[in-house]
C-alpha cells in the first residue's frame, strides 16, 4: 500500500540534483491532526518539497451504495445526510432531485423555496467550516475556527428547530419537504441572515489582509483552468480557477432562475482565490436568501402524487445533480420497479476534486500541502461513502 521510494526524477528540481540523496517518504494520516478525519496521503519529499503524493482512500468506506441498494428509496434519505455530513440538506436535495426525475414528481413552489433557503444556509455552514478549518491548518490556534463555528451554531439552531437535528436533517422528501416551518422560524432566519455579513466583515478583518495569511495563501497550490476541467473539478475550486460553471446557473434546477445572484470567479487558482471565492460566494448566498425569504409563497409542501411508503418508481434510470457547496453532487439511480433501487450511485464532488491534489501539491512544501488539501474542502464521508 505504501509506495517505494521513487527513483525516477519526477521533479524538475530533482532532475538537476545529483541523485544520491534519498527521498523521504512520509505518510500523513490516517490519523493526522489535519486530514479532516481519516484521509491519508503518502507523500514523497525531497527535503521539504513534495515530489509525489498519493492519496489513499477507503478509511471511511461505509458501503453507503451497497446498503442503499438493499433498502427502500426512503430509507436512503437519512443515509444521504451522512455523506457530506457538514451539509446534509443539500445532499437531501440532490437525492430528492434524482428520485423526482426518476419518478417524474413535481415539487410545489413553497417547498422549492424552502429548499433553496435551506440549501443556501447549508452553503453558509459549509463555507464557514471550510475556511475555519483552513486557518486551523495554517496554524492559527483555533480563534478563526471558533468564530466560524460560532456562526455555524446559529445556523445549526435554525436547522434544529426546523428539522429536529443539528446535522442529520433528513428533511426533504420525494416531491417536497417533510414538515412545515415552525412558528417564528422565518423571523429567526431573517435575523441570522441580517447579521451574517457582520461576521464576514470581521473574518475578513482578521484574515483577508493579514500578511501571514497572504504569504501562506497567495501563489500556493495553483490549479490551471484546463487541468481543472479535465479532472472534473467542480464547485468553488473550479470557479477559483476561473471557469464560470455553476450548476445553479447552468441547470437552473429548482427555482434558481428566479434569483438574482452572481458567480465570483478567481483568476490565479491558488489557495487565496479558493478562500476568497468561498467568502464571496457566501455573500452571494446571502443575497439569494434575502430574496427567497422575501418571496416565500404559501402553499402545500408535498406533491400529492408522492407516496412515503410503498414507493416504487417505474423501471428506468436518472441522473440528478445539484451545485452542492463542495461541487457537483449527483445521484444516479436505476430502478427495476422494485421498492429498492437497483443501482444507487453517488457522484461525490470531494472525491473527484481530489484527483488534482497531486498536481496542485507537487513542488510545494509539506506545510503547503496541508493548506492546499484544506482548500479542496473534502469530507471523508463523501469521498469514501
Amino acid at each position: 500500500m505504501t509506495t517505494a521510494p521513487v527513483k525516477e526524477a519526477t521533479h524538475d528540481e530533482r532532475a538537476a540534483g545529483c541523485g544520491q540523496d534519498e527521498l523521504l517518504e512520509i505518510a500523513l494520516g490516517p490519523h493526522h491532526p489535519s486530514t479532516h478525519g481519516v484521509f491519508r496521503m503518502d507523500v514523497v519529499l525531497d527535503g521539504e518539497r513534495v515530489v509525489k503524493l498519493k492519496p489513499v482512500f477507503g478509511y471511511l468506506h461505509r458501503n453507503h451504495e451497497k446498503i442503499a441498494e438493499s433498502a427502500s428509496y426512503l430509507a436512503s434519505m437519512p443515509y444521504t445526510d451522512r455523506l457530506d455530513y457538514i451539509c446534509s440538506l443539500t445532499n437531501n436535495w440532490a437525492y430528492a432531485l434524482a428520485v423526482e426525475k426518476l419518478a417524474g414528481l413535481q415539487v410545489p413552489e413553497r417547498a422549492e423555496y424552502i429548499r433553496v433557503i435551506t440549501a443556501e444556509l447549508t452553503r453558509l455552514v459549509n463555507h464557514t467550516a471550510t475556511i475555519g478549518f483552513l486557518t486551523q491548518e495554517m496554524g492559527a490556534s483555533g480563534t478563526p475556527l471558533m468564530y466560524a463555528f460560532r456562526e455555524r451554531e446559529k445556523i445549526l439552531d435554525l436547522f434544529e428547530s426546523l428539522t429536529g437535528s443539528r446535522m442529520m436533517c433528513n428533511y426533504m422528501r420525494f416531491g417536497g419537504c417533510r414538515v412545515e416551518l415552525p412558528a417564528g422560524w422565518l423571523e429567526q432566519t431573517k435575523k441570522v441572515v441580517e447579521e451574517f455579513p457582520r461576521f464576514l466583515d470581521e473574518y475578513e478583518q482578521l484574515l483577508t489582509g493579514n500578511e501571514i495569511f497572504m504569504a501562506r495563501a497567495q501563489g500556493v497550490g495553483i490549479l490551471k483552468k484546463d487541468l481543472a476541467i479535465d479532472a472534473g473539478v467542480t464547485g468553488p475550486m473550479l470557479r477559483a480557477s476561473g471557469v464560470n460553471y455553476d450548476i445553479r446557473k447552468v441547470d437552473k434546477y429548482g427555482i434558481y432562475d428566479r434569483f438574482d445572484f452572481k458567480i465570483p470567479l478567481g483568476e490565479h487558482g491558488d489557495v487565496y482565490d479558493r478562500y476568497m471565492v468561498r467568502m464571496l460566494e457566501m455573500r452571494e448566498s446571502l443575497k439569494i436568501l434575502h430574496q427567497a425569504l422575501r418571496d416565500l409563497p404559501q402553499g402545500p409542501l408535498m406533491d400529492p402524487k408522492a407516496k412515503i411508503r410503498g414507493f416504487r418508481p417505474k423501471p428506468g434510470e436518472a441522473y440528478g445533480r445539484i451545485e452542492a457547496p463542495k461541487g457537483e453532487l449527483g445521484f444516479y439511480l436505476i430502478s427495476d420497479g422494485s421498492p429498492n433501487p437497483y443501482r444507487y450511485r453517488v457522484r461525490p464532488p470531494s472525491l473527484i476534486n481530489l484527483t488534482v491534489l497531486e498536481d496542485m501539491c507537487r513542488g510545494y512544501s509539506i506545510a503547503d500541502t496541508i493548506v492546499i488539501f484544506g482548500t479542496v474542502d473534502i469530507v471523508l464521508g463523501e469521498v469514501d461513502r
Partner: protein, 164 residues
C-alpha cells in the same frame, strides 16, 4: 576542588568524544568537554572568553557538527569503532606527545610562577584594546570569516544550486 571537578569533566568529555561508538554521543561528549574548558577559562578569570567559548562552540560549532553528521550519516547511524590500521602507533605517538609535553611543563619555570593579583579585566577593557591595539587583527578576522563563509558555502552547496 572546583578545578578538579571541572578538569575531570573536561577530560572525561574529551575522552568520551574520541572513543564512543555513536557519533551523536561523541558530539554530546564533545559539548561536555567544551563546557568544561569554558569552566576552566572562567576559573582563570577570563569571563568573556569563557562565555564566548560556550556561545560559539556549544551553540554553533556543535550544531554545525550535528548538521554535518545528519547530512552524511543517513545510512550508517552508528559509526563502527573503525580504527586506522596503524592505531597502535598512532596512540603511542599521542602518548609520547603527552609525556613530552608534561615533562616540559613540569620542568619549565612556569610552574614556579605565582598567581598575580586578580586583574580587573572587564568587557570594556577587551573592547578598548580590541578597537585600539587589535584593530588590524580584527579586520583580518573579519576578512577571514567572510572568506570562510564564502568558501564553506561554496564547498557545501550543491552543484546545481551554484549554477542557478
Amino acid at each position: 576542588m572546583s578545578f578538579a571537578i571541572i578538569a575531570v569533566f573536561t577530560v572525561a568529555g574529551a575522552l568520551a568524544a574520541m572513543t564512543l561508538r555513536n557519533l551523536v554521543h561523541c558530539v554530546l561528549a564533545l559539548v561536555v568537554a567544551f563546557t568544561g574548558l569554558a569552566g576552566l577559562y572562567l576559573q582563570l578569570g577570563a569571563q568573556f572568553v569563557g562565555f564566548a567559548q560556550i556561545l560559539v562552540y556549544v551553540g554553533a560549532v556543535a550544531i554545525l557538527i550535528v548538521f554535518a553528521m545528519l547530512l552524511t550519516q543517513s545510512h550508517e547511524p552508528l559509526a563502527h569503532l573503525t580504527v586506522a590500521p596503524g592505531w597502535v602507533t598512532s596512540s603511542l605517538v599521542a602518548v609520547a606527545v603527552f609525556v613530552i609535553l608534561a615533562w616540559s611543563i613540569r620542568s619549565s619555570a612556569v610552574g614556579a610562577r605565582s598567581i598575580q593579583p586578580r586583574p580587573e579585566i572587564t568587557v570594556r577593557n577587551i573592547g578598548d584594546s580590541l578597537m585600539s591595539q587589535f584593530v588590524v587583527p580584527l579586520e583580518v578576522t573579519g576578512l577571514l570569516l567572510t572568506a570562510a563563509l564564502v568558501g564553506a558555502v561554496t564547498i557545501a552547496m550543491r552543484e546545481q544550486r551554484m549554477n542557478r
